[in-house]
Symmetry: C2
Subunit: 336 residues, 2 copies
């Protein structure tokens, strides 16, 4: 029997906490401790933060403080959405020879927007002999990995249409804030212009699908609109009045020459009806599949991250996309 | 730009012909010729057999007759369903250093039923530096690969239920014969007892899913029943009268201790209504997806075989399952 892989939880936000909790359930993984910058968490026992009582693993303020003997094989990196902010953290993890599975949305497929940063991460990972992967559920699963796998049964693919409708009212507070629920249209627009409003990683999903299909896209265009409330909604965290913004409607289109070959449509707002995910592959055979109710974001993202750990830990060194690795699958009972 | 991979078509039945046709459409693949034992095909131009006119590639009676200069990188092996019959062919291909993607249903996951044969193939493949993979659509995609990928987003998997309903009346003649459509119940039962009636590779699908989830099954049980016609049906190839067999109802159950953890249900008969594929993952999140109309068998099987060629050609040597390889995806325009 192989020894369990030692996993460092890097970042203890909602996703990070869910991932750490999941690591504890896996016989083939062992929690090596955690890193978080929140002074309210540093020094605490990780098990106490997870609500299961002391487990003898502490939260450290930085990698620097991590005891030398803890020597993690892999880190679950769950901090920021944007690649530029994540890079110093990823480099630091790589420098210590720790493989990385990250929820940073822009790391899903960084070669489209950030060719140089991607090359830098790849060089570092290769030099240190570890693999780095960005993954999750959206991006990382419903609108990219699953359609790619489905396309494997196609003799011809003409166009891919992706659709995700999320009732943000059922999701956690940071998400409801991120989509601007409860803002006036003016305020929403001001913040959207300042950037970083809406769903991160959309362009990366489309770029990943194109790469997987061997399509060289000419362009990827993203659009973001506010969804406006027709009636009042109240969530656990906020209120939305009629006429206020209730969330986002975001689209992302990949074109080859002038032809639209990938179109992804995301509606994420408080009060969205019939939440679901849908994948349509126009081609032969035409495939049309639907996840009734949709694939819940946070828990499923933590699952993807943790399930990928053994595959990333034994991957060839370098910055990877999911195209380079064995397919995701639930990490079950016995050692991997 | 890399040179195209040279692909040998081994076996020119309906799947083999469809696969060879598809190879011709792929810029990253090149057809190196074909092998088939049918005297009516040997010596013919492969393009003529495919109905597209001469392409300067011939059909040979055996690998032995293949010109030395043709040196294929990979073979699409499309001959038989049963592993024991396929092994001599696979060994012969491996001996020549040709990687193999095979439609042999029992090759999908041969370690459950044929541990020794699998070990022998693995040794041979490693010695010759090539990879061997069994794949297809069923088995190989709808009831194994797709549920495995979906499970990647789960924090917990309790049980997997799989369901495939195929209207055999829309399928090719060998399939209608294989399920015994138009036979009396007595004759069907006699042939079923002699073995080799029904869908091959079902046990292998269940074994592959279990392996992917890290579940050590205690048993896999397969059951085969005739579906009886309530009304008359007429297909392009045969007639079914009321009271006669119209096809099969086959189930396959994987148990851990006494608990049923994987249950697959296949109904394949002339006149089946609402053909579809359905995957239910009981767990968290619960996933329930449906392919409306189902995933058509033959074309999709040819697609899976051809789409996997570049991934198998560059895989580590050995006998592989799809769990060892990057995930399937449509093989598109540019070189792989």
């Amino acid at each position: 029997l192989r020894r369990p892989l030692k996993v460092l939880q890097f970042g203890l936000g909602p996703i990070g906490l869910a991932a750490a909790r999941l690591v504890l359930e896996k016989p083939s993984l062992e929690l090596a401790g955690a890193v978080d910058i929140d002074p309210a968490k540093v020094g605490k026992d990780l098990g106490v933060l997870l609500g299961i009582g002391p487990i003898g693993k502490k939260v450290y303020a930085s990698l620097h403080d991590l005891p030398a003997r803890s020597r993690p094989d892999a880190a679950l990196h769950c901090t920021v959405s944007w690649l530029e902010e994540a890079v110093p953290q990823l480099i630091e993890l790589a420098s210590r020879g720790i493989a990385v599975v990250s929820s940073t949305e822009e790391l899903l497929y960084p070669w489209w927007k950030y060719r140089n940063l991607a090359a830098r991460l790849d060089r570092k990972a290769k030099r240190m002999g570890i693999a780095i992967l960005g993954t999750g559920v959206n991006p990382g699963f419903v609108l990219d990995t699953v359609p790619l796998v489905l396309s494997g049964a196609c003799t011809r693919v003409d166009r891919i249409r992706l659709e995700r409708v999320v009732d943000a009212g059922t999701r956690r507070m940071p998400l409801q804030r991120k989509i601007g629920a409860g803002l006036s249209v003016e305020e929403w627009t001001r913040r959207a212009r300042a950037g970083r409003m809406g769903h991160a990683g959309f362009v990366e999903s489309v770029a990943l699908v194109a790469k997987g299909l061997g399509w060289e896209l000419s362009s990827i265009t993203e659009r973001l609109h506010p969804a406006i409330a027709e009636q009042a909604h109240r969530t656990e965290y906020l209120r939305v009045e009629p006429g206020q913004v209730t969330g986002i409607h975001q689209t992302c289109t990949g074109r080859f020459k002038r032809r639209e070959v990938i179109h992804a449509d995301l509606q994420m707002y408080v009060g969205a009806e019939n939440p679901h995910d849908r994948i349509v592959i126009e081609g032969s055979p035409r495939l049309d599949i639907r996840f009734e109710g949709g694939v819940a974001g946070d828990a499923a993202t933590a699952a993807m991250l943790v399930n990928m750990v053994p595959l990333v830990a034994k991957a060839e060194p370098g910055l990877k996309s999911i195209l380079d690795l064995p397919m995701p699958r639930f990490l079950g009972g016995s050692a991997a």
